[in-house]
Structure formats: structure tokens, C-alpha cells
Subunit: 153 residues, 11 copies
């Protein structure tokens, strides 16, 4: 705003550099869901498996192995998949939300303003027509309900 | 209004020049949404991503990188897109709203006045017809509901 | 009314000349909408554009230029368009409203009077027919609702 | 009624001459709408045109000329059109209302009297038929609603 | 009733002659509508024409002439048309009402009496049939509404 | 009932002769409608014709002649038509009502008695069928309305 | 019941002869309708004919003759027709009612008893089916009306 | 039950003979309808015939003969028909009711017991299905009526 | 349960022999319907036949014979039919009820238990689907009834 | 759980042997339905057969034999059928319930957990769509019921 | 977070090893359903089989064998099936839930955020259109219910 000879370099009056925009601000690695977006995703072995009665008990070794296999397989599968696919998706969503913000701010909002003004004229014509033609019709048809007489005995 | 020999030069009694119409009046670069048009657009990393439980924690480095990538990519993408497309859109919307104002002021408003007068005549004919033909019909049909007798036991 | 030998020259008893009918009465150039016809047309830059959060701030120069371009382009476009098209439209609407007044005063109003008298006869015939044929039918059909007996337990 | 040898010459007992029936009674040239038939036709410049904001002000000369042109054109157009077409329409409506009065007085009214008598007979036949055939049907159908038992818990 | 040798000459015991049946009884020429049959036909110039505002005033001479022409033309047109067509219509309606009276008195009334007796028999057969067949059906269908139980919480 | 050798000669115990059955009993010639069958038939000149305003007054002679012609024509037309057609119609209606009485007394009444007995049997069969088949159906369908629970807030 | 050797000769214990079953019991010749079956058949001249106003009076002789003709013709027509057709009809209705009594007593009544027993079985099967299949359906469908919540403001 | 060597000879412990089962028990010949099955069959002459007014009296002899003929013909016709057809019908109905009793006692009743047990199983399957599939559907559809808000003004 | 070497010989711990299972327990021969299964089958002569009036009395001998024939024929027909068909039907129903008991105990009941478990899973899937898709739809449609405003005058 | 070298041999920590799993625990042979599953199956002779009146008593021997045959046949038929088919069915149902338990525990339950999570996402998309498109529609349609005005007389 | 040179080795700041993720934590082998997921699966012999009455008792040995067979077969079938199929299913569900968690966290949640913003714009356009076009229509149609007049007698 002050010296517009360096126009490309300021946002909100501060100089912009090509460095990391998070300024090294660390993310909390212990609590990774501060907005509680995914509380229904905390799933452990006993939320899924259960043998209710002695008559449907499998052998001890089967039950113990099933517990160990389910827990380990679920943990490592998630870690490997997120290692492979997590970062590309983070970039993709970054670009997506930037484009979306641009469209909403520079295109949709002005269009909505103009649209409201244009429909205001249409609405006045429409109301005049309705008041002239259809409201008398509707009121006339309504005289059908004019003569309801109830006799209680 | 005083000397109409200089007609092209006054608006509201002041001389018009070809200079900037904003008279150098600066825009506030810190608060760019004084009308609060876009409050639902303030989106950061934790509004979108979250890992709720230790059993679905990705590696620390994946989570930290995802945070940095998403934030930086979103920021710079918006800046570059607005740099490229912002100014043409500003011109486009300026022309659009000027044309729209002209049409509403010089064409729609007079037409709506004349339209209301013309429909006033049509409405009188229409009301006369309805009162003569359909209101007696409706009232007659309404005699169907004339004999409702309710016996409570 | 006094000397009808000069019939072409008086309206309401005053002589008519070919001079300007507004008699030089000046129009208020500061307040051009005394009837508040177009309050929803007062549109400035911040009614249309806004960037809500630092993460979606474009460069300062882009934002400042967009503000200047939008305001100037809108202003001058309206001025030029109204300079070109305003006066022919004023003449057109003058002729239109004069013709409309003539038609309503000399044609529609007498026709509506005669139409109301003619429909009065039709309405009497119509009422006689309805009272003879359809009202007994409707009342008879209404006996369907005659035997409603409600037993509460 | 006294001497019927001069039958063609009296109406209501007074002699009729071929002179003007208004007997020179002057019409009020200042207040030409004593019955307030056309109050919605009082339309001036500011009922139709308005520029609400400085950003949509046209040049002063355009606005002033538009005001003068609209007012003058509307006034003279009406005067010329009424000069050309007014008197033939007055004659037309005079003949129309005389014929209409004759038809209503000598044809419609007697016919409506006779029509009411004829329909009286039709109505008695119709009522007898309805009371014999349809009223028992309707009452019988109505027994559908006879056994409504409501249990409130 | 006394001497039936002169049967053709009495009505209600008085001798009938071929002279005028109104016995010279004069009709009131000033108040020609004692039953107020046509109150909506009193139409003068200002019930039909009106110029509401100075901006839609025609020239004085046009307005004055229109008033005189409308009033005179309407008056003389009615007088001439009634002179030509009034008397034949009076004769026509006299014959019409006499025939109508004869038909109603000698044909319709006796027929209506006999018709009511005949339909009385039909009605008894019809009622017996309905009471045997349709009333049990209707009551049985009505048991659909037997089990309405409303639970209010 | 006493001496049945003269069977043809008595009705209600009195001898029947071929003389006039009215025994010379005179009919009232002044009040010819003691049962008020035709009150809506009393129609005179002013029930049918009327000129409401001076501007629609016909010439005096036209109005006076119309009154005389309508009254005389209506009176004599009815007298002549009733002289020609009245007596044959009286005979026709006498025969018609006698035949009608015979049919009602000797045919319809016994048939209605027998018809009521026959339908009594049909009705019992019908009621048994309905009570066995359709009443359970209807009650079962009625359980649709069994669970209406209304929560008022 | 005592001596069944003379079986053909007794009814209710009394001997039956071929003589008149009415035992000479005379019928009342003055009051021939003790059960008031035909009160709406008492029709005389003034129940059918009437001339309401002097302007629709026929000649005295026409009115007097019409009265005499109607009364005499109606009386003698009925007497002659009943003389010709009365006795055969009396025999016909005697046979008809005897056959009807026999059918009702010996055929219809036993059949109705047996029919009621047979339908009793059908009804039990039907009720079992309905209670098993359709009542649960109907109650289930009825849960549609379970959530009616009314908010009054 | 005591000595089953004579099995064919006892019913309820008493010996059965081929003699008349009524044991000479006489039937009441005076009151032949102790259960009042046929009260609507008591029909005499005046329940069927009636002449309401002197103007519709037939000759005395016609009326007297009609009375005698109707009464005698009805009586003897019934006696002869019942003599011819009564006894075969009594035998037919005896066989019919015996067969009917056998079928109901030995076939229908056991079948109805077994049918009720079988349908009990079907009903449990059916109820389980309805509670699983249709009751949730119906309750869900019922949420349509959830938002009824009534504003009284 | 004690000595399973004689397994085929015990039921409930008692030895089974091939002798009569009723152990000579005699059945009550006087009261053969202790459960009152067939009260509507007690039909005698006067429940079926009746002659209401002396005018429809048949000859004494006809009435007496009809009584005797009906009673004897009905009694002996039933005895003979039950002698011929009773025992085979008793065997048939014995086998039928044994098979039915076996099917219900060994097949239906276990199947119903398993069926209820299987449908429990289906029901949970179904409820999840309905709560996700249809309940919001139904509630949304219900907003149609949201704006009911009643104005009482 | 302690020594997993013998994994195949423990369930719930106890060694498993191939011996009878019921450990010789005897079943109650007197009360074979402790859960009252089949109370409607207790059917004896008089629940099925009955002769209500002396007129429909079969011979004593028929009734006694029917009682003995029905009771013995039903008892032995059930015993023989259950001897032949009971044990294979017991094995079949044992296998069926084991497989059913396995499927429910290892397949259905995990699938239902995952299914609920997946539908949670679908539901959020669905609710957003409904709130944007259909709720405004429904509320707008609801304005039809906005103008209910009730006039009580 | 501290030393990102060992990035692959930490989750939540702790080093990750390839050892068992359950750390030898033993599972409770006695109570295998702590969340009570399968209470309806506790099925024993008497929940499925029952013989209600002595007349439907099978031989003692049949009943005892059925009890032993059902219990043993059900127990061993479940043990063998779970030994064969349990562990592969545990692995399958572990992979399935890991993939599901990844999709919900990295794909669905961001998409839902963006989707809600996009629909916000659509909703504003939609509401403007509805308010301009359909709300006046609906209110106009609602005037049909405007004239309800109830007369109580």
C-alpha cells in the first residue's frame, strides 16, 4: 500500500517470501483430531468380535491368534497406505480449496447480487399478474366452502 | 444547471474530469471483508483432516508433511490464480453492473408502471365475469356441505 | 368557455402556446430519486467482493487495482450508455404514456360501463338456472354426510 | 296525455324541440373527473424515472433534457390524439348506450320475467324426482360414516 | 251463473264489452319505473368520461363538444328506436304472457299433481330396495372406521 | 249391503243416478284460486316495463299506447285460448286421474306389500353373508388407524 | 288332533266346510280405507285448477263447465273401470299371497337356518386367516400415523 | 356303556326301537308359531286394499265381492298347496339337517382345530418379517407428519 | 432314565405295553359336548317351521305329519350316517394330529428360532439404511405442513 | 492361555476331551417343555369332538369306539414317527445352529460395523442436498395453507 | 518431531518396531463378549425342543439321545469351523477396517467440506428463485381456503 513499486511482494502490508508459510509452527502429534471429526472411527477388537456363550467358544489358541492378527494387520495396513497416498492427497486438496475459494469470491458472489436485482423486476411483473388473474379465481373457487352448516344432535 | 454551454462536464453540479474516480481513497488491506460475505470460507488444516485414535495414526513425518503441504499449496495457488484472473473479472463486473443499472432505471421501471395500468382494466373485466358466472356456481356447489349432521353417542 | 372563436388556443381556460410546458422549472440535480424507486441499486465494491481470511488474501496490488478498476469502469460505462440512449427513451416513454392515457379514458372506461350492464342480465338468467337445477342437486348430495355418528369409548 | 293530437311533440308532458338538449349548460373545464374514475392515471416524471446513487448519475444535461422531453412529448401527444379521435368516439358511445338501454328495457326484462315462471315448473318436477330417487341414495351411502368409534388412550 | 243463456258475455259476473280494458285509466308519464326495475341504467356523461390531471387535458373545445354530442346523440337515438320498435314488442309480449298463463294453469299444474302421486309409488319400491341391499353394505363398510385409537403423548 | 239384487245402483249405500254429480253446487266465480296455486302469475304492465331516467324516456304517445296494447292483448288472448282449449283439457284430466287412482289402489299397493315380504328374505341372507365375510374384513382394515399417536409440543 | 280318521276336515280342531270363509261378515261400505293407505289420493277440482288474477279469468261459462266436466268424468271413469277389472285382480292377488306364504314358510325359513350354520364355519376359518395375515399388516401400516407432532405457535 | 354286546340298541344308555321318536307327543294345533318366526305374514284384505275418498268409491257390489273373493281364494290356495307339497319338504329338510350336523361335528370342527395350530406357525413367521421390514418403513414414512406447525392469528 | 438297556419300553419312566391307552376309562354317554363346541346345532321342529295366522293354517293332518316326519327322519339319518362314517374319520383325525404335532415340535419351532436370529441381522442393516436415506426425506416433505396459519374472524 | 504348546486342547483354560459334552447330566423325562413352547398342542378327544343334543346322538358303541380309536392312534403314531425321524433331525439342527453362530459372529457383526460408518458419510451428503433443495421447496408449497380464514356464523 | 532424520521410526513421538503391537497383552479367555454384542445367540436344547403333553411324549431313549446329539454336534461343529475359517477372516477384517479408515479420513471428510460450500451458493440462487416465483403462487392458490364459513345450528 505504501510503495507500490514492489507490488508483487506484499500481502496485508507484509513482504512475502517463498519460504514455508507455516513458519516452522509444529503440529500436535499426540492429539491429531482437535475438532473431533471422526469419533465413530475408534474401533478395537471387542467392538467387532464376541463369543457370547460357552457352547460357541472356539479353541483358546484360535481366539488369541485372531485378536493379535486383527490388531496388527489393521495398524500396519493403515500406516503403509497413508505413507503411500497421504501426501499426494494433501496437495490435491490444497489446490482444490484454493480454486474453490477463488470461484466463490470472484464469480459467484457478484453473480448472486446481480441475479437478485434482475429477479426483483420479474417478481413485480409476476405479482401484478397473479393479483389480477389468479387471486380472484382462487377466492371465487373458495366460495365452495361457504355454506358449511353443521347440525349436532 | 447554471451554464449549459459546458454540458458535458458536470454531474450533480460538479465538473467531471477523466481522473481516477476514487480520488486516491485507499482500501483497507487488513480487513478485506467488512460486510462478512464469506465467513464459511475460513478453512484450515484441522477443519479438514483428523486422525481420531492411536490405531489409525500415520507416521509422524507423513502427518507433519501433509500439514505443511496442504497449507502452502492452498495459499500460493490462490495468490497465483487471483493474480492472473482477478483484474479482468473486476472490469467485467464493473461493465455488467453499469449496464444492469441502466436497463432497470430507463426500461424496466417505466414498463412496470404502464403494465400495472393496463392490467387494472383487465382485472375489472375479469372480476365482473367471475362475479357473474363462477361465484354463483361455487356457492351452489357449496350446498353439498349443507347437511352435515353429527350424532354423538 | 367564454369566446369559442379561439377554440384551439385554451386548455382549462388558459391560452396554450408552443413554448416549453415545464416553464423553465429546474429539476433537482442532487437528489434524483425522490420517490425511492431504486434503493436496491446502490452497489459499491464491498457489497460485491470480499476476502475473509489471511489464507485467501490475494497480493495487495491485485486487491487495490481491482477496487479502482471496478469503481471507475462501472461509473463511466453508465455515464456513456445513458448519454447515448437516455434521450430517445425519454421521448418513447412520453408518447407511450400519452397513447395509454387516451385509450383508457376514451375507450376502456365506457366499454367497462356497458359491459357491466350487459353481464347483469346474463347473471340474472344464470342465477335462476342454478337455483332451479343445481342447488337441489347439491343439497341432495349433501345428505351423504347426514348420518355421521361418533361413539367415544 | 292531455291532447293526443300533438303526440310527436311531448316527453313527460313537455314539448320537444330539435334544439340542444343540454340547454347551453356549461361543463366544468377545471375539474374534469368529478367521479374520480382515473386517479391512477396522474403520472409525472419522477413517478417513472429515478437515479438512486451518485455512482449511477448520468450527466446533468442528459437528466435535464430527459425531464423536459418526457413532459412535453406526453402533453402534446395526448392533446393531438384527443383532438383527432375524441369527437367520433363520443358519438359512437352515445349511440351504443341508447341501443343498449332500449334492448334491456323492451326485450331482456320481459323475457327474464317469463323465464322465471317457466323454470318454476321445471324446478317442481326436478325437486320431486330428487326427493324420490337421490335423497334416499345419499342418506344410505351416508351410513358408511355411521360406525366411527374413537378410543382414546 | 244466474242466466247461462248469455254465457259469452260475463267474466266474474260482469258483462264483457269489446271496449278498452283499461277504461281510460291514464298512466303516470313522469315516473315511468315505479317498481325500480332499471336503476343501473341512469347513465350520464361524467359516469363514463373523465380526465384526471392537467397533463391529460384535451383542448377545451374538444371536451365541450364531446359532452354535447354524447348527451344529444344518446337521447335522440333512444327516442327514435323506441318510436319504431316499441309498439310491436308490446303486442308480442302481451300474447306471450297470455299463452304462458294458459299453459301453466291448464297443463303444468295438473300434470305436476299426477306426477307426484306416481313417484310416490316408485319411491316406496326404491326405499325398500335400498334398506335391504345398500344400507347393510354401507354400515359394514363403515366398520373400517371402528378401531380408531388415539394415543396422546 | 242390504239387498244385493240391485247391486248396480248403490255407492256407500245410496242409489246412484246418471244426473250431475255436483248436484248444481255453484263454483265461486270471484275467487278462482282458493288454494293459492298460482300467486306468481299476477303480472301487470309495470311488473314488466319501466323507463328509469329522463334521458331514456320515449315519446309520451309511445308509452301510453304500449300500456294499452299490452294490457288488452294479454286479456283477450287468454280468454279466447281458454274458450277454445279449456273444456277438452278438463275432460282429459278427469279421465287421467280416475285411471291413476285405479292403478294405485288395485295394482301398486298389493304389489308393494308382497315386494316387502320377498325382500325381507333376501335381506336376511344378505345380512348373514355380510356379517360373515365383510364385517371382519372392514374391522381388520380398520386396524390401520389403530396406532395414531399425537405429540403436542 | 283327536280323531285323525277325518283328517281332511279340520283346521285348528274345527271342521272345514266349502262355504264362504268370511261367514257373511259384512264389510264397512262407508269407510273403505281404515288403514289410511291412500290419503294422498283425495283430489278435487281446486287441488288441480286455479286462475289467480282477474287478468287471467276465462269466461264464466268456461270455468263452470270445466268444473262440472272434470268432477263427473273422473267419478264415472273410476266406477266403470273398477267394475270391469276389480274382481279379476282380487282373485289374482289372493292366489299370489297364498303362494308367497307357502314359499316363505316351507322353503325360505329352513334354508336360512341351515345357511346360518354353514356360514358359521366359513366365518371361523375366515377370522383365523384375517387374524393371522391381515391384522398384523394393518397394524403395521398404521405406524405411518405414529409420529404426528403438532407444534402450535 | 354297560353291556356292549347289544351295541346297536342303545343311545345314551336307553334301548332304541324303530317306533315313532316323538312318542305320540301331540303338537299344539292352535298356536303354530311359538317362536314368532313369521309375524310379517299376517295379511288381511284391508292391509292391501283401500278406497280413500267418495270420489273414488267403486260400486258397493264390486267392493263386497272383492273382499269375499280375496279372502276365500287366499285361504284355499294355501291349504291345497301345503297339502300337496308340505310332507315331501318336511322329509327333505329332515335329511338335510342330519347330514349338515354330521359334517359339522365330524369334519369341520377337527379341521378348524388343526387349521388354527398350523396358522399359528405361519403367523409367527409373518410377524417376525413385518417387525423387521415394514414397521420401520411405516414409522419412517410417518415422519412426514412430524413438522405440523399451526399458527393461529 | 434308570436302565437304558430296555429303552424301547418306557415313556416318562413307565413301561409301555401294547394295551388300550385309555385303560378302560369310560366316556360320559349322557353329556357328549362338555366343551360346548356345538350349541348352535340344537335344532327342533319349531326352530324351523311356523304358521303365523289362521289364514295360513294348513290342514291339521298335514301339520301333524310334517312334525313327525321331520323329527324321525332327522334322527335316524344322523344315526345311520355316523354309524357308517364315524370310525374311519376318528382314525384319520388321530393320525393327522399326531403328524401335525411331530412337525410343529421337531421342525417348525427350531426353524422359527433360527429365522428370528437371521432376520435380526437383516433388520439392523435395514434400519441403518432407513435412518440414512428415508427419514430425512420424510421429515423434509413434512415441511409442506409447516406454514398452516388459521385466521378466525 | 498359560502354555500355548498344547493349543489344541483347551477352551476357556480347560482341557478338551472327545467325551460327551453333557457329562452324563440327565434330562428331565417327566417335564419335557420347561420353556412352555407348545401349550396350544395339548389336544384330547373332547377338544375336537362333541354331540350337543339328543337328536344328534350317534349310537353308544360308535361314540365309545371313536373315543378309543382317536386316542390310541394319535399316541402310537407320534411315538413311531418320532422314533424314526427324531434323531436325524436333532443332528441336523445341531449342525445348523453351529454354522449360523459362526456366520453371525465372524461375518455379519464386522460387516454391520463397517456398513454403519460408510452410510454415515452418505447420510451427510444426503442431508446437505435435502436442506439445500427440498426443504425450501416444501416450505414454499406449504404457503398454500397460509390463508385459511374461518368465519363462524 | 524433534529429529526428522529418523522419520520412518516414530508414531506420536515413540519409536516404532516391527514387534507385536499388542505387547503380549493377554485377552480374557473366560468372558469373550464384554460388549454384549450377541446375547440372542445363547441357545440350548430346551430353547428349541419341547414335548408339552403326555400324549405327545416320544420314547425316553429317543428324547435322551436327541438331547445328547444336539448338544455335542452343535459344540464340535462350531469349534472345527472356527478353527478352519477364523484366522483368515480376522486378517481380512483387519485390512478392511484400515482401508476404510484411510478413505474416510483422507477423502470423504475434505470432500464433504467442499461440497457444503458449493451447495451454499446453489441454495442462495434456489431460494431467490422460489421466493420470486413459487411463494406468490402458493399464497395465491391458498386463497381458495379463504372463505370458509361454518354455520352451526
Amino acid at each position: 500500500m505504501a510503495s507500490q513499486t514492489e507490488v508483487r511482494l506484499t500481502v496485508g502490508g507484509e513482504r512475502v517470501t517463498a519460504r514455508d508459510v507455516t513458519r516452522g509452527e509444529a503440529i500436535d502429534l499426540k492429539n491429531r483430531d482437535p475438532e473431533s471429526l471422526h469419533d465413530n472411527m475408534r474401533i478395537h477388537f471387542h467392538d467387532v468380535f464376541g463369543e457370547p456363550d460357552e457352547s460357541v467358544y472356539s479353541f483358546d489358541c484360535v481366539w488369541t491368534c485372531a485378536f493379535r492378527l486383527f490388531t496388527n494387520v489393521k495398524l500396519w495396513t493403515y500406516r503403509i497406505v497413508s505413507l503411500l497416498c497421504g501426501l499426494p492427497l494433501a496437495i490435491y486438496w490444497g489446490v482444490y480449496f484454493a480454486i474453490l475459494s477463488f470461484c466463490v469470491i470472484w464469480c459467484c458472489e457478484p453473480y448472486l447480487k446481480a441475479f437478485a436485482i434482475e429477479l426483483g423486476c420479474v417478481r413485480r411483473i409476476f405479482n401484478t399478474l397473479l393479483a389480477a388473474f389468479y387471486r380472484p379465481c382462487a377466492e371465487t373457487i373458495g366460495y365452495i366452502f361457504y355454506n358449511i352448516r353443521i347440525t349436532r344432535q
